[in-house]
């Protein structure tokens, strides 16, 4: 009993960390820039395919593909932001939702065309597989790796936002764009770079996720709701909120599948709806 409980908690936290890695960028775009981006999962999917392709076709080692996934996805997202997204920053959320659903559909069809409709195969190196025994439990190495990656990214994000000059510029641009412009901050460029970083993180998360949740062209639609839940429940623009929401969601999902397999995702949706009724801005939402 205790064993399974610890196991569920561990698996849930690892899954939650993965959700956090992917969704934190979405929290930034939706919260800081006020853009309802349903296509965020498409960036994660692209990251996954970059890793899978580099490993299979070019023989790159797994760890080396991760930065590549980050950089490539960030570059693609910048292209999209410059050509499509920025036109709709001031539009209503309906237009944003429709545009990004359109992007999702094109991404799904494009991925099917390039990589085929089946699951992308991936083999992580042997030192990331198996389990290690610490104390009374066996811990999955890959999940430990995921949790460590999540922790590193969280710390980097918090330090980056609160301690660096660029972090201060982002906070200034969000709090009061006009004032920030008056102080000589190029708000437009700050937002672009922020968007790029957020999408890059999604790419990294997608690359890390292939081994855990799989990858096929329907990925952006299948997990869209989960990313949105993390952001909406955690509170837009809140890193702390996203982290807590992602961990709770991960643990609830794993526990629900283990203890109440018949209810499916019912509990998660139910919690989300009631939470949003209680706090429409999410747990840690501002404004």
């Amino acid at each position: 009993m205790l064993l399974s409980l610890a196991n569920i908690l561990f698996n849930g936290v690892a899954y939650g960390m993965l959700l956090f890695l992917i969704a934190v960028g979405l929290s930034v775009t939706m919260g800081l820039m006020g853009f309802a981006n349903l296509a965020h999962g498409a960036f994660a999917m692209l990251g996954g395919y970059v890793t899978a392709t580099l490993m299979a076709k070019a023989g790159w080692p797994f760890l080396a593909t991760l930065p590549a996934a980050f950089v490539l996805v960030a570059a693609v997202s910048l292209l999209l932001e410059r050509t499509l997204y920025r036109r709709l920053y001031r539009a209503g959320e309906l237009d944003q939702v429709l545009l990004t659903i359109g992007v999702v559909f094109m991404a799904v069809a494009g991925a099917t065309y390039v990589w085929g409709p089946s699951q992308a195969p991936i083999r992580v190196p042997s030192y990331l597989t198996g389990t290690v025994a610490i104390g009374p439990f066996d811990w999955g190495v890959y999940r430990l790796f995921l949790i460590a990656m999540g922790a590193i990214v969280t710390v980097a994000l918090i330090v980056g936002l609160e301690r660096t000059r660029f972090g201060a510029m982002i906070r200034a641009a969000v709090d009061n764009p006009r004032m920030a412009t008056g102080l000589g901050i190029n708000v437009d460029r700050v937002f672009s770079i922020t968007f790029m970083l957020g999408s890059g993180l999604a790419g990294l998360g997608g690359a890390l996720g292939v081994n855990l949740i799989g990858l096929d062209p329907s990925f952006p639609i299948k997990y869209m709701v989960y990313f949105l839940i993390v952001v909406a429940v955690g509170g837009l623009g809140s890193i702390k909120g996203s982290l807590i929401a992602a961990l709770v969601l991960g643990v609830c999902d794993v526990a629900g599948k283990y203890y109440l397999p018949d209810t499916g995702a019912f509990i998660i949706y139910g919690i989300m709806v009631s939470l949003l009724l209680w706090r429409p801005l999410g747990l840690f939402g501002r404004r």
Partner: protein
């Protein structure tokens, strides 16, 4: 004495204003010839394309569903990502009634509308309180909840296999459903037209005008004594009833209900149809549904996998270049042509 005197003098400014308001409302509701052409074309499908009646019925049902979304989006300004909830509720209500022996179509349809309406009424209080991302997430969440229930309640709904064994009694006890979908088409057309009349009346009524005013400026309506929440809740409930009837029609005419009637894809598709045709224009949903389903039908026979790509592209182009959809674009072109 003085009261009667003022009401009898037609020259009084208050009476003049009232008469002008009545004339305005009446002018709003007047039928125009393109509308007659539209319904004549719809009806003539029976003769011109007798082999495409199934597709034509689907277009009408999808159009009615999109029209119900138009009521809350185009009139109420509420963006919903979970409108399939009511469509699905209607479909399952009509389907389950038929499976369990209540095979009379018209009352089945009324029940479908009623069930969807009750749930719409209950959730309307939640919906009117929210806006922005929370509204999107909650409307989507309610539909996803129902989807999960339908999927897991295998004993009642058939789960992923769908609800089978629906067979309808003849409409009005006279017209039985045939293999070619003739009865189904006429039945659909009549029901859709009746629902359309209700929606049209709403559009042109003072209530519809108040909603339009609310959409344009949320602060003004309370200032002239209306309640934003009450108006929104009412239109949300009415839209739910119509969506339920559309779902019921689908279940009755196809004699099958798949769990997909509640899916996110259906909610997204109806939004796409409406925006493609043009929101807030009454006929946009029908135009969008026709283009959407006919193009899908054509593309699906050549390369079904990439239909999604063209759909996505269509959406992006509409959002970037044709905010008011096909119908809105056509109207603008017509206006330009008339002026020159």
């Amino acid at each position: 004495m003085a009261m009667t005197a003022t009401s009898e003098t037609t020259a009084s400014p208050a009476a003049d204003r009232r008469a002008a308001a009545h004339a305005f409302i009446a002018a709003q509701g007047r039928w125009r010839w393109p509308e007659a052409v539209f319904w004549l074309v719809a009806a003539s499908t029976l003769v011109i394309f007798p082999h495409s009646l199934v597709l034509a019925s689907q277009v009408l049902i999808a159009g009615l569903f999109a029209l119900s979304l138009d009521l809350i989006l185009g009139l109420g300004g509420i963006v919903s990502l979970g409108h399939a909830a009511f469509f699905g509720l209607g479909a399952y209500t009509a389907g389950l009634l038929a499976v369990h022996g209540w095979r009379e179509p018209l009352t089945g349809l009324l029940a479908a509308g009623a069930v969807a309406g009750i749930v719409g009424f209950a959730t309307s209080f939640i919906v009117v309180r929210l806006k922005g991302i929370a509204l999107l997430m909650v409307t989507m969440g309610v539909a996803l909840l129902l989807h999960e229930v339908a999927q897991k309640a295998h004993v009642i709904t058939g789960g992923d296999d769908g609800l089978q064994g629906i067979s309808m009694a003849p409409v009005l006890g006279l017209f039985s459903f045939d293999l070619y979908g003739r009865t189904a088409f006429v039945y659909t057309l009549v029901v859709v037209f009746l629902c359309f009349l209700v929606a049209r009346r709403l559009y042109t009524s003072p209530f519809g005008l108040a909603l339009k005013g609310m959409r344009e400026n949320t602060r003004r309506l309370p200032a002239i004594g209306g309640s934003v929440r009450r108006h929104s809740a009412l239109i949300y409930t009415i839209a739910a009833v119509i969506a339920g009837i559309a779902g019921g029609l689908l279940a009755q005419t196809t004699e099958f209900v798949s769990v997909e009637v509640l899916g996110f894809q259906r909610s997204a598709e109806v939004l796409i149809m409406l925006v493609l045709g043009g929101a807030g224009l009454l006929y946009g949903g029908f135009v969008g549904a026709a283009v959407f389903l006919v193009v899908r039908d054509l593309l699906a026979s050549t390369n079904p996998e990439y239909w999604f790509f063209w759909l996505g592209l269509m959406l992006v182009l509409v959002v970037l270049f044709a905010r008011n959809g096909l119908l809105g674009g056509a109207k603008a072109l017509l206006g330009k042509w008339r002026r020159t």
